[in-house]
Subunit: 526 residues, 2 copies
């Protein structure tokens, strides 16, 4: 195992000018691990942003295939990390090693998907309108458009995916793919993991001859504010809490030059259990749902936090069964003490609410999270009670019983923006509740049929996004190849000599990419 020195990564070198030191902790015992990390000074935060800015002109103009090689080299470096690495991650996060191995495969797979996107070339969004010198009343100039990276990107990872949504996770991969150097703020919950991954990225950068400063990482509490406010930073990717994400959005909007923030924040991921499905397979649904609620100790952005059904003897039986199943689920260790504290507070708030009753779950005490099941009166949802709109991060879900299909429609209408919504439904259900679908589409980034929202496939067609407060900008996704678009902007060339055009726009189409030429999608040379 390579040594963990805990210095900041700035422009290809390590730096520890500050005096504030931080420790990483064993998530199981809460004990500090034997690694010391030095918080970045304000000057080091600025230097990291400047290093990214210095790398930008060269990095963004590297060919897409060079950037693809870089991403693939990172993937290979990640895959090559030994068992000691997996052990380290499990110690910092209390996540089981099989999960970490799976998450690593997902993370390297994600990097390879972006390499494919780069080679495919559709991210360029190449468009060509050729000159029409004879057009009346005025000739048309030659216009050619493609997309370039917006500039250095600040990335804030999440605690719950120490690999896939962290140092070399989706936001970093998307930004690098777009040609944007990255300054990553190491998550305090897994700083040693972050260091091992940053080392892997730096090795890959050296191996593929990337400019120094293409990837930088800083440690510390409160350094994120200075990072987001730094004038060199041109966009922000964030995964975490609503409060944290909103604070970054507000800072970014108040800059002399406002910049976009793509924050993935809070979602309760409603699951609608419809009558025919209950009738056909109610018991299966209850056991699948219980498993989904407690999977990974409920520490997923897409954890099902709200279950809605129509009042009936069957739904009553379903609720009873789900209660039994939740009572049977063992307590689990959470990612860290802060996460457990938040969970305890969230559960307590549900317990304290007069309109919410506790159906199942052991008393929340000790150093593990106890799975819980609640039931809320539908009026809370209809009246926009904040307790039913904000996620309780952990293995808890809330059942809401509506009177009839009309009230179901109203309940869905009352929801805020969500990452996902799920329909557990038979064909007959979908026919008799057809009006639900367009409404759900307005509320969420992803509509699932007869599945569970945990488990977000990394693919071209995935949307891990949705209206506020699920994210700060519904037009983006933080999982899947579309994520690259958040960090690209279009540039147009007017009457540019062919030799000076970027390859994506040259007549000969040397990259052999699809382009929109005079309104027609084609791959031909001109």
């Amino acid at each position: 195992m390579s040594e963990i020195i805990g210095h900041n990564y700035i422009g290809g070198a390590r730096s520890a000018a500050g005096t504030i030191t931080l420790h990483s902790h064993d998530a199981g015992s809460g004990e500090p691990l034997p690694f010391v990390f030095t918080q970045a000074t304000p000057e080091e935060v600025g230097a990291a942003a400047q290093a990214a800015a210095a790398a930008y002109p060269l990095f963004r103009t590297l060919s897409a295939s060079r950037r693809a090689e870089f991403l693939e080299a990172i993937a290979a470096q990640l895959d090559a990390l030994g068992d000691d690495f997996v052990t380290l991650v499990t110690r910092e996060t209390a996540l089981p090693s099989a999960r970490i191995q799976g998450e690593r495969a997902r993370t390297s797979g994600q990097l390879r998907l972006f390499a494919q996107v780069l080679r495919r070339g559709d991210f360029y969004g190449a468009r060509i309108d050729r000159a029409l010198p004879e057009r009346q009343p005025l000739p048309r100039v030659d216009l050619r458009q493609y997309r370039i990276g917006v500039g250095p990107v600040a990335v804030f990872g999440a605690s719950n995916f120490p690999l896939a949504f962290s140092t070399a996770g989706g936001d970093t991969a998307a930004a690098l793919a777009a040609g944007c150097p990255v300054v990553f703020k190491a998550h305090s919950g897994h700083m040693a993991t972050a260091e091992r991954v940053a080392d892997a990225i730096i090795r890959a950068a050296e191996q593929t001859d990337m400019p120094k400063g293409v990837f930088n990482m800083i440690y510390g509490a409160g350094v994120g504010e200075a990072l987001v406010k730094h004038p060199a930073i041109q966009a922000v990717g964030f995964t975490g809490s609503l409060a944290g994400g909103r604070a970054l959005c507000d800072m970014a909007a108040a800059r002399p030059q406002p910049i976009p923030v793509f924050a993935e924040m809070s979602s309760i991921n409603p699951v609608l259990v419809l009558p025919e499905a209950l009738q056909v397979r109610g018991e299966n649904i209850a056991s699948e749902l219980a498993a989904s609620v407690v999977q990974g100790c409920g520490q997923f952005c897409t954890n099902p936090g709200l279950v809605i059904g129509i009042r009936s003897p069957r739904f009553c039986a379903f609720t009873a069964l789900l209660s039994t199943l939740i009572n049977e689920q063992p307590a689990q260790t959470m990612l860290n003490a802060g996460t457990l504290r938040s969970y305890r507070n969230g559960v307590q708030a549900l317990l304290d609410h007069p309109g919410i009753s506790h159906l199942a779950g052991k008393v929340q005490q000790g150093n593990q999270a106890q799975p819980q099941l609640f039931k809320a009166e539908v009026r809370l949802l209809l009246n926009g009670d904040p307790l039913l709109q904000e996620e309780v991060f952990g293995p808890t879900t809330v059942i809401v019983e509506v009177a009839d299909p009309a009230e179901l429609q109203q309940a869905v209408q009352a929801l805020q923006g969500q990452l996902s919504a799920t329909l557990i439904a038979e064909a007959g259900d979908l026919q008799s509740h057809a009006a639900l679908l367009p409404l759900l589409e307005q509320k969420v980034g992803r509509v699932l049929f007869n599945g569970y929202p945990t488990g977000v496939e990394v693919a071209d067609a995935m949307v891990h996004g949705g209206p506020y407060p699920a994210t700060s900008d519904a037009r983006g996704t933080s999982v899947g190849s579309l994520a690259i678009e958040r960090f690209l902007r279009p540039v147009c060339y007017q009457n540019c000599p062919d030799a000076l055009l970027p390859e994506a726009l040259q007549n000969a189409n040397p990259l052999a990419i699809n382009r929109l030429v005079d309104g027609t999608s084609q791959r031909a040379a001109l």
Copy 2:
């Protein structure tokens, strides 16, 4: 000519609940025109936003071809407006009738371009990843993604393009194409024009059976704030001043639910005149540039406000000739008294600056704008003097002479974000100044070669955008078909039965559109 009654357009009806009345003015004489407009009350602003929200569920789910028919009907209605309409616009704006006729053709052409985009179907961004039930270690679900309109859009038009950037202008066309109902804030500078255009839109909406509330328009000062803050509004399009645009951005960012604002604001559109070009055709460049500076009284977002050249006897002669030409240009009437006042203040600020000398132009007095030419010391640019970064809206430009190619590079580096930059250059210039091009690309939305930035073609490949302060979000364009993307967001379907999918994603591909299927762009049925 249809009667102008000056009532607000709300949900397909007219409403004038308020008591504050407004007048439109003859731009030439400054006299009020015989039309009275009733400012929308706060309740009416809310009702307009609600009407748009009520229209959204139906409008967004109409087939793209139905929306295309609506846009084409608006275009036809605009084209059918008589000479009296053109006369009215010229009275309110002092723009010549040939210009208004040309601008109308541009506006209806723009609507027709978006109709084409709708029929082409690439705006859907359809992506399909089919299920892989045999995949190891886990099967892949079926994922399908397309894009939907974000919701009701508030649009604020510009004074300088009373048709193309106003009531039925690019932002309105893009929003309607995306499936987003519009609430338009009528520009105070051409309220009668706005009413005639709104009537045309409403006729088209009725003719094509669009939902009431698909287009709404409100009159008044200060009503914009309430509109942007209304919870039903999901995005904003704006063309105007930096101060105005930034104020809207700040309001939108401070909402409980922040929303994106696409504001096209301030650009000085630098023109770089390189040595060989000066040698070969210096006189032509001077006369073309003078014409571009005074065209339309300089009232263009893309007016060339900064001319940069390398010190030489030839650049000196060029400057002298440009001075002579600017001195020969007649005064022109501006859009309105406020525009003239701003111009006078802007010119005075340049006159008052000790680092800026006045090269040409008559004393700015009376009720017309006098073309002006200034020369600024390069250190102002290098030191970020705000006077050289903010546009003076009107027929004025500033020359900056740099010492050598290195200082030229520094001067470009010192520029803020711009809508456009122009290279006036021969082949040899482009070779010896090759480093300029990537730098310009980082600064602007459009790089022109041997043309002038005024005249923004409406096309698929156009970018009328750029880094702040040119716009509030460099990832958008407000001219050209890419403008639709600002108002779309992706939605993903997971394991959705084929019959329930939107047509764009069904196996049979009934719309016959291009789709990214398992990573390959194709038009085939599945």
